[in-house]
Symmetry: C2
Amino acid sequence: MNLSELPTPALVLDVARVRRNAERMQTRVEQMCARLRPHIKTHKCVEVARLQTSARSPALTVSTLAEARWFAARGFTDLTYAVPIEPGKFAAAIELARECERLALITDDADISAQLNAEARAENVKLDLFLKVDCGYHRCGVEPETPEAFEIPRRIADASHLRFAGILTHAGHSYHSRSLEELRSLARHERDVMVEFAAALRGADIAVPVVSIGSTPTISTVEHLEGVDEARPGNYIFFDAFQATLGSCRFEDCALTVLASVVHRDRTRRKVVIDAGAIALSKDRGAVDADPACGYGRVLDPEGLDLNLRVSSLSQEHGIIDALDDALFDQLKVGTRLRILANHSCLTAAQHPHYNVLEAGRIVDRWQIQRGW
Amino acid sequence: MNLSELPTPALVLDVARVRRNAERMQTRVEQMCARLRPHIKTHKCVEVARLQTSARSPALTVSTLAEARWFAARGFTDLTYAVPIEPGKFAAAIELARECERLALITDDADISAQLNAEARAENVKLDLFLKVDCGYHRCGVEPETPEAFEIPRRIADASHLRFAGILTHAGHSYHSRSLEELRSLARHERDVMVEFAAALRGADIAVPVVSIGSTPTISTVEHLEGVDEARPGNYIFFDAFQATLGSCRFEDCALTVLASVVHRDRTRRKVVIDAGAIALSKDRGAVDADPACGYGRVLDPEGLDLNLRVSSLSQEHGIIDALDDALFDQLKVGTRLRILANHSCLTAAQHPHYNVLEAGRIVDRWQIQRGW
């Protein structure tokens, strides 16, 4: 099947770019003497996970227990669930931990580590638990200078049914960088904060088995990873318009597009409407700090050529593309196919049931996306 | 099962409110002597469609061919697919039209009506086709004063394998109203434009079987529907924070919430993080014109009491609630359950695999949501 035969809207994955992105990150992290534990929240797909892990080290990071169950059942049994655990998920996590070689959880809350230990004791399992650290993003995590940053790991290490897995952070604030220089500085900071904190913990006689960091912008731009054991980037496998605007990649590295059809044209307003709306694209605005006009995605032709247009607004099943010049307007009839380069590939992929796998101009396969919780 | 036992995040549907919203709209439209053809894009769920249609008139509007197939296979065979048809969907639409009592399509393009007629002739079927009219929203549709507004219906009526079904509009610009008065004025305008245009077509000897209008804000507030045959509101079945802010409903009419758990708390920043993020809630901003601080949803306690807080920002699996006072912060431990009243219920529902049906404080059922295209 080729792109003109695919019903629209449809998610299209350029598998040559996925392979290239996978190899480049694998090489980069290995050269920096760290281990790659990619975050699969970007793709939620077993076939993509196989492309981005080596057979000898199929370690993954997940964002939901549904992802953990799905991947564990398909041979990926070394997992980190990287959202802070809460009591409503203890039973499901313990059930899953029994089936895994290792399912590590994360927390930044002293009460939770105590409650989890009690539950693990009652269930007669021993659980791996990371301390989530705030390296400046201020979403979750303890700040390294605070008493609790020492108290929680000590409690975990002393607990009868927990193993202190190490310290883990995510420099999500790197997504708000306005320049490559700012991004590189944040990447250095993410690493330095964690390496210094690990040294402080070790100085306080707390063993730190793993120092884990990661975001695609910082791992793509950091100069070295000395003192870091593990990197957890996710988005790099597809990249997107946001990452290209930030400087983590080039536009030609972006692997994920949504194929759409023109359903309406308006000569007076020089606009067309496509059948990819808020559900097919997601309403993520992308890199608004760096590019206020980013809209809801960049418009490409079916061969991937950038037409220098954006999807300017979205309703549920309609996307609006305006500011067309005469020549382009005349080409875009109802039924014309376009490809929309996602602003944020993680959110766009999660809107679809499967990838249509594009290789050498043909759709060669369909890969399932595991959504839900 | 009660709300404290449901794994989070989870979509919760208050079925008593759904029934009340369904009955109120049914009565309202019947009293105005029009027929209700609800738009099921809001819920994509057969059980909800049964609650909102009478057994003698199970007519629906759909936004995707996947919805059309799903509902047709479950007894709803009088359907209008209310996104302009494009050639890539002709074959699927014709296949489905054969299985339906009536599947009406819409267009605003003269070339498309000719191409569709040729395809219908080749397939030996006769298709119902509406003219999509722009009543001021300027998303899709022909403007009633233009030559094509008369030429397209005439071509459809004269085509060998098409039936001219009538004229159809959607006053989507009603969602940008800043006051109830402005909304009522738009509602009058939507109706008047269509009634006058139908008269003009009839004056030009073009029979207009059906005048179809509809949006939840306008149908909820219009004074009468004289000259209108059919109303197609959709959102009213759940309503949401957007509609309540606009004045289409009261907050206590809103039936859809997302149950979430606190996963992180930060005393310094007076904020908590919940496990409902951009995927569980959607990134729809809601009624930003009328309420710039609307955020990504209103925060309720498990019983539905409004805590007067908003979800202020979202990442993939994290939602941030800030500006907490001391008393509330002390109550919100990791694991505490909250319910988020969606800004835009259509987009939030489409993020989930099923509804957890809440009745008299208990989860009594699970209803499937038919997503995709």
